[in-house]
Assembly symmetry: C2
Homo-oligomer: 367 residues x 2
């Protein structure tokens, strides 16, 4: 088992990464002093529940915890205020009090939903993350929680740090391959923004990671979480540095939105977004190798890097303008300076974006 | 104009109390550096909007702010997730960004609702309180914001401090007398928990306060806000001391709930709750004069202090058991030690509560 510490003063917390951790949940709860007299609410989805809900419930119960659970439908649609209210109802009916904990057992959707419940139930109770996807190595660290508004993603939320993250890598073995690839997209991102050596390690271990080799996965996830934790420690509430984590996200969120949150997985959308950001940097004078290397590592994981032909630039740009990052006709982008280093620029014009969209559509036709 | 400072480190903020402040809103916004490029959302209700919305909008517009507004129905029913979502829609459609401010123009309901919107829109934007009731001198200070769940009051919320509180006492002149009395109940509470001299001042100035004399109101509200601010400065997130503000609230919230949030105003319910707490303290050995003085000052304001005959003890106790303050068959109560000083006790039994309910029903029959 590997342990990482997210350093946030009195809100600091550990991330445990290893095999068999879900079956030891009760032990970790006790060790972290979570209240035994107050019920624990496990929030999970209907894909994860049949696989791991019993394991976690049994482990907590054996340690003397009273457990209630709420199973939501798998998928982004559960990140709604309606489902949020249902989970709140389960919390109240389950008798949760101010000393209770809410557990997110699942991927990013469950983490965001359960996290916002934990942030706002009785104005905030303890929160524990138990990610079961690769993508969640990103979303489970850093305390950003939210639900969607029908008009925009992640619009209603909070910053609410977990008491701990219990990352059982055994749970990743049941992931569909498409989700594996998409999850590794955020891992690669952490290399591209912060650590060229780690980006290179990802490239060299592409096959091991795609094969879910436990040693490679454990190392890669630890590095990815560690980079995220370092960035968040410096800038918890995204006043500055934290924005570098948005590499690929300006365009990525727009692609997710126009695809109705069903066409692209988040990791696929930001893969295209990272390719676009690299191209934009090159158009602004950076070395062409940045674009070539970015695309090369992503393609190695089977991730898309060309712009989909079926969406026209007007729709993509309109979606970007709804984003939290749009201000006064200019867009904020995270752009690579070199592999392992990025900068935040706030003056990207719509013309520059149009050019990149056209160039990346062109790329698509060569494939 | 009187100015108070709520001392919370980097979340410190001023409370301005005086006449004509709503017409100077733009000036205060500018002075506090609120962003002009980002739209401001004013949330208010259909009682307050016809009286003051134009005044505030005009003042902000003249200072160069772009203003959008959302008018909700007056009353506790607007503190729902449904109305919360409607206000979020207005915020998105109005183009609010991360640098925008949400303004609560109204009483406690509007403050709680708009405050939770400000706390969670894009994970938190600036918040400004413009209270228009006496009761809101309490709710507008301290950063507790929330909406109700159908099963329990204030169940979904956050701690989110405003950038400033702009308290225009002229707006109080249009309040119905029942709301005046109920609002003064929280003012008296601040004396009872913290400052015997202020409790005595309230008793001596009962007539002036009920007549809405500007000088008496200004002084009383400043003292009330000041006591609240002192308590909150010591314990922002209710880990300890802040709980003394709940004098009268354990029973008060139960009475509000069984009355369907329509029978009693909040101030009326906590008036009965404060009488009950004093009686409970006397039953536990405190001097009888505590009960007599508490009841005397409340009755002077025309507030109820006897238990209503129509609700039986089972219903009242069942409602208390849903409260955030109920744990392991015992109730947390704030009890007077003497006038101006209280203690928090966590071991009040249901039998003690039954006795007090019976005794205060008895009082009602003597009236």
């Amino acid at each position: 088992m590997r342990t990482l510490q997210v350093d946030l003063g009195e809100r600091s917390y550990p991330i445990y990464i290893g095999g068999g951790l879900l079956g030891r949940a009760g032990e970790f709860f006790e060790q972290h002093g979570l209240a035994k007299k107050s019920p624990v609410l496990i929030v999970t989805d209907d894909h994860v529940a049949p696989l791991y809900l019993d394991t976690v419930t049994k482990s907590l119960s054996e340690q003397g915890y009273r457990v209630v659970s709420k199973v939501v439908k798998a998928g982004e649609k559960s990140k709604s205020l309606e489902v949020f209210e249902d989970v709140m109802t389960a919390a109240i009916e389950g008798g949760l009090d101010r000393h209770s904990a809410v557990v997110a057992l699942g991927g990013g959707v469950v983490g965001d939903l359960a996290g916002f419940v934990a942030a706002s139930y009785m104005r905030g109770v303890s929160f524990v993350q138990m990610p079961t996807t690769i993508l969640a190595h990103d979303s489970s660290v850093g305390g950003k929680v939210a639900v969607n508004h029908r008009l925009a993603k992640n619009m209603i939320g909070a910053f609410h740090q977990p008491k701990m993250v219990l990352y059982d890598v055994d749970s990743l073995q049941t992931l569909p391959i498409r989700e594996v690839r998409a999850g590794l997209s955020e891992m690669v991102k952490h290399g591209l923004i912060w650590n060229a050596a780690f980006a290179d390690w990802c490239r060299q271990h592409t096959a091991d990671l795609l094969a879910l080799d436990p040693e490679a996965l454990g190392y890669g996830l630890t590095q990815g979480c560690s980079i995220k934790a370092q960035v968040v420690s410096v800038d918890e509430r995204e006043q500055g540095l934290r924005a570098i984590l948005n590499l690929g996200h300006t365009l990525g969120h727009a692609l997710e939105a126009i695809g109705g949150y069903g066409e692209f997985l988040h990791g696929e959308a930001i893969s295209i977004g990272m390719a676009a950001a690299a191209k934009l940097a090159v158009n602004r004078g950076r070395d062409l190798s940045i674009y070539e290397e970015t695309v090369s590592v992503l393609k190695g994981f089977g991730l898309p890097t060309a712009m989909p032909q079926q969406h026209d630039e007007h729709a993509i740009i309109a979606a970007m303008m709804h984003d939290k990052k749009f201000k006064e006709q200019q867009l904020v982008f995270v752009l690579p300076v070199e592999i392992g280093k990025v900068e935040i620029v706030a003056d990207v014009t719509l013309d520059e974006v149009r050019r990149v969209i056209a160039e990346l559509k062109e790329e698509g036709q060569h494939v």
